[in-house]
């Protein structure tokens, strides 16, 4: 396991959307899911998780309901709303194009310039 990457500014929201798009999760579950998908390469500040969840719910991108966690604790489960699904798709496309463009620029060799 290499050194963990710091999260890029503004990417936490889309990661949360992606995480809950795979199935309803509680807050801690979101954290674990992101770490798991990223192969433990991403370091997420726990402190910024809940404000982000509240913000997304406030914007109507995710919705929540109360349930029981796997170890029988009362927990709030978040799931994606249709608006959130749309947003996730748009953000994903956006991100892919960005990554492509960035890669294209950064991979260019000096003589080609």
């Amino acid at each position: 396991m290499g050194k963990q990457l710091e999260l890029l500014q503004g990417t936490l929201d889309v990661l949360i959307l992606k995480a809950v798009s795979l199935g309803p999760l509680h807050g801690y579950g979101v954290l674990l899911r992101i770490q798991q998908i990223s192969g433990d390469q991403l370091e997420i500040q726990q402190g910024s998780l809940y404000p982000a969840l509240y913000r997304l719910e406030h914007q109507g991108l995710i919705a929540s309901e109360w349930g029981e966690s796997e170890n029988n604790r009362k927990a709030r489960f978040y799931r994606l709303t249709p608006a959130g699904r749309k947003k996730l798709k748009a953000e994903t496309d956006n991100w892919n194009r960005m990554a492509q463009v960035m890669a294209g620029i950064l991979n260019r060799e000096p003589e080609e310039a």
Binding site: G27, Y28, Q46, Y50, P51, Y54, Q59, A75, R76, A83
Partner: protein, 897 residues
């Protein structure tokens, strides 16, 4: 997309704030425990696992705060915090709170009541398309009094005008509507076919009139109002094409107008409209005053001004005048055509009074705001230490201003609510008077528009009286206030100046109101002292409502009214009863005779142009109204249809037209074929139309003598009849018996109205009385507020200076010296205020000149008396705190510090 969800989520949070907080806590704790479990699973001991989890997440409180912030709840929480703080503060200072609320409620309440009245009058909703483009077109004589125009005239205006989009005309006619349900009195209007298209409103059922329906013989169609359709026609959907009867003639219903449609708009009765039938009299050139006349209403093109239209039509009219017969030319030459916005003509009489009252309530509001600003300033000073402590604890400058502003906002909103209650109460009390005076169709109640205006007004109030003190209070250096401790700090010099300036302004503004009030009281007093020239006690006036179509060829004078008078005279309690065609002090119908006659012998006589009011009256009228004869006699029982026709004139007539005093010998008036009325007496003048108008020349004929064939029968006895009755008993007992007698003798007369002469006199002073009463109320309130302001400020200043005064006393100052010093200070404010007030009153005198009678707008007596009264009240208000100050016990005051 997310605005709705944001609102939803805020709403949820607001409604369930405590469960929101609780949920947030549970969720965070679950997280901590889950994480700690995982850490323990990796081999950490419980204690350090929990510590680690707490460390990574941050404290629960901080997390909650960030979550709240991500929902944008922070400003809301601040606001709620401020509100709590405000209510706590206000509860702690009940005297301050109550004073502010009462003053505000008065200031805002007066405005709310006024807004409601203006909303119902000047800004009234009218049920027409673009009602602001509608103008009334009428002939105005040199006094500006309107009269109707000939059909031929209106046609010419229509034809020649380029500045008008369209013109319609109408005239009220008698209306007894006969349906299956029976007969009912309605307001009927004979209108041009294009009226509804000029108004821009089409019937909801059926169609509007066709041009051809104005042709003779085609005019038997009718359009009914929604109210008539709903009540008298039982909301019949199939009503189009059905027959109804108007004044006992058959008409076919062709249309039903929409709900709330009214035309004319100041009519209270249910309305119907029929086409104005064009008779031969319409089409031939104007030869005399019997030519058909109408009221005209026009629509302006967008952006056109009424005055251009008036000028254009006056030009057209001046080219028409030479074609008229000579006796019509006389009046037309001095007239012009006026175009006035239709909305304005609805409130023409009350408009100046309303505008003046707007100014009055605005002044009251300013006084209230100045007063509260002063109180807030004083309070801000007393709270300097508290504010400084908050500043020291880290509250920002803007945060403190916001908190203080919240306080003024809360106060002004509470004041607005109380004011709304007051306004509602006042409107309910004055509802009857106001509706009658302003000719309003419905009741006066504050509506949404008024509430909106009120909200804006209260926010404005909060800004005016709250922001400045708040800003000043927050500006004060924290350091200073804390170091100098109590309110004794000498930092408030500038603030004192400001407070004094506000008291001066209050005094000045109140003086303006008080002077206006004084002038109006003088007016009412003067009006009451004007000798009426007749008795008003124990006199009843009956206005008989007779369906005229039933009595078209009946001599109602002899066949209906004389028998009725006979019957009335026999009623117990009745002393005398007479017919008259003019009701004293009533601005109703008057027949004015304009003619050229020759006086004296034909050879030497000079042609004389006469303007006089005509009246027919029974011989008993003199006994009933108790007027005096200057010369000769009034009519008596010997003046019968068979005897020599007689007439009397009033003194004004004799003075204007027959100064030589030969009126009784040399003057006679032709009544018809070979019948000439001889003048047998000259009456003393009495006021015919209103108390503030001088007597107009008048000629009276003896009613029992007039025959339907006489030339004057039509314009006077058919136009307007009143029955005057002198009673010996109380009106309350007499009126029911009178009603029964009227209904008995002729059931058609049941709708007749009965008024007492005293009431008629009061009504004729109505606008002045109403204005005077309202101003008394406003003036007294303004005075009270201003005095409270003065008293409050002085009390406050004295309490601020206790230490200084104590030191002075301890050093040997005389108590009387201190008293004079304080009174001098108050005196300076009072005199400055009075000077400002007098100046403003002087320049605003013009505004109320129209309401005054018997007193000049700059009447020095009133101005001096009112100013003296104000100064006296002011001195009393300042003496009390000054005396308290001069009685300070220096030892005790200094020890208490």
């Amino acid at each position: 997309m997310s605005a709705a969800s944001r609102l939803r989520s805020w709403w949820k949070v607001l409604l369930h704030r405590s469960s929101f907080e609780h949920d947030m806590e549970t969720e965070l704790h679950t997280h901590l425990e889950n994480y700690a479990d995982d850490l323990m699973r990796r081999g950490m001991d419980r204690e350090s696992a929990i510590r680690r989890a707490r460390l990574e997440l941050g404290t629960v409180a901080a997390q909650k705060e960030s979550c709240r912030r991500s929902l944008g709840l922070r400003p809301l929480d601040d606001f709620i915090g401020d509100l709590r703080y405000v209510f706590r503060q206000l509860r702690r200072a009940p005297a301050f709170t109550v004073t502010v609320l009462v003053v505000l409620a008065l200031g805002i309440g007066a405005n709310a009541a006024m807004f409601s009245i203006i909303d119902a009058t000047l800004l009234r909703w009218l049920p027409y398309h673009k009602p602001n483009q509608l103008v009334s077109l009428y002939l105005a004589d040199s006094n500006g009094d309107p009269s109707w125009a000939f059909y031929q005239e209106i046609k010419e205006w229509q034809k020649q005008s380029h500045s008008l989009e369209s013109v319609a005309y109408y005239i009220p006619v008698e209306g007894y509507l006969g349906t299956d349900a029976g007969q009912a009195s309605v307001s009927a209007l004979s209108v041009s076919a294009n009226l509804f298209s000029v108004l821009g409103v089409q019937p909801v059922l059926g169609r509007s009139f066709l041009e051809s329906e104005q042709q003779s013989g085609n005019a038997n169609v009718i359009i009914v109002s929604h109210e008539v359709w709903r009540t008298l026609l039982r909301a019949d959907q199939e009503v189009i094409g059905k027959q109804v009867r108007v004044n006992d003639r058959p008409y076919t219903v062709v249309g039903v107008m929409p709900e709330r449609f009214l035309f004319p708009a100041n009519d209270k009765d249910p309305q119907v409209w029929i086409p104005a039938e064009l008779t031969p009299a319409h089409l031939k050139p104007v030869t005399d005053f019997t030519a058909p006349v109408y009221q005209a209403i026009g629509r302006l093109p967008k952006g056109a001004s009424p005055s251009t239209v008036g000028a254009e039509l006056s030009g057209i009219e001046s080219r028409l005048v030479p074609w008229y017969p000579a006796d019509i030319q006389i009046g037309r030459k001095s007239s012009r055509v006026d175009a006035a916005p239709y909305r304005e003509t609805l409130v023409k009489e009350s408009r100046p009074a309303l505008l003046a009252l707007i100014a009055v309530v605005a002044i009251m509001w300013l006084i209230a705001c100045a007063n509260i600003a002063n109180l807030m300033l004083a309070r801000g000073m007393a709270r300097q230490r508290e504010i400084a402590v908050r500043g020291a604890l880290g509250a920002s400058h803007s945060r403190i201003v916001r908190q203080l502003f919240t306080e003024s906002l809360v106060l002004s909103l509470l004041g607005a609510i109380a004011g709304l209650g007051l306004a509602q109460l006042a409107l309910r009390i004055f509802d009857k008077v106001l509706s009658a005076r302003l000719k309003l169709p419905g009741h006066l109640t504050p509506n949404a528009g008024v509430l909106g205006a009120l909200l804006i007004l209260s926010i404005l109030s909060a800004i005016v009286f709250g922001l400045l003190p708040a800003w000043l209070a927050a500006r004060t250096s924290i350091d200073d206030s804390l170091r100098h401790g109590t309110a004794q700090a000498g930092t408030g010099k500038r603030r004192h100046k400001l407070q004094q300036a506000m008291v001066v302004a209050e005094v000045g503004l109140s003086l303006v109101l008080l002077i206006a009030c004084g002038l109006l009281l003088r007016t009412v007093f003067a009006l009451r002292k004007v000798p009426l020239g007749f008795r008003t006690d124990h006199v009843l006036m009956v206005h008989p409502e007779l369906p005229r179509y039933k009595y078209r060829n009946v001599d109602t004078n002899h066949a209906i009214f004389q028998p009725l008078l006979q019957r009335v005279r026999q009623l117990p309690g009745a002393q005398s009863a007479a017919i008259t065609t003019l009701l004293p002090l009533h601005k109703g119908f008057t027949a004015i005779l304009t003619l050229d006659v020759k006086v004296g012998e034909k050879s030497s006589g000079v042609p004389l142009h006469i303007d006089a009011q005509l009246k027919a009256a029974g011989p008993e009228l003199q006994q009933i109204l108790g007027f005096q004869m200057a010369r000769g006699r009034f009519f008596n029982q010997q003046d019968t249809p068979d005897s020599q026709p007689v007439a009397v004139v009033n003194r004004a007539f004799a003075q204007r037209y027959l100064p030589a005093g030969d009126v009784m010998e040399k003057f006679s008036i032709n009544l018809g074929k070979k019948r000439a009325a001889r003048i047998i007496g000259v009456m003393d003048d009495f006021h015919q139309t209103s108390i503030d108008q001088p007597s107009f020349p008048e000629i009276d004929f003896c009613a029992p003598q007039l025959l339907p064939t006489d030339g004057f029968y039509q314009p006077i006895l058919l136009a307007h009849v009143e029955l005057a009755i002198r009673t010996q008993t109380d009106h309350q007992q007499f009126v029911p018996a009178l009603r029964r007698a009227i209904a008995e003798i002729n059931p058609d007369l049941q709708a007749s109205s009965i008024e007492t002469m005293d009431q008629i006199v009061e009504d004729s002073m109505g606008s002045q009385l109403l204005a005077a009463h309202l101003l008394e109320l406003f003036g007294a309130t303004a005075l009270l507020i201003a005095l409270a302001g003065l008293y409050g400020l002085l009390t406050y200043l004295v309490s601020q200076r206790t230490r200084e005064l104590s030191v002075r006393l301890a050093l040997g100052a005389q108590r009387t010296h201190i008293l004079t010093m304080l009174l001098e200070q108050a005196g300076r404010m009072l005199v400055a205020g009075a000077a400002i007030g007098l100046t403003m009153a002087w320049f605003s005198g013009r505004l109320i000149a129209g309401f005054l009678y018997g007193v000049a707008p700059h009447d020095p007596g009133t101005m001096v008396a009112v100013t003296a009264l104000l100064l006296l009240c002011g001195v009393i208000a300042s003496y009390l705190p000054a005396r308290t100050a001069s009685r300070v016990d220096p030892m005790e005051a200094l020890r208490r510090e």
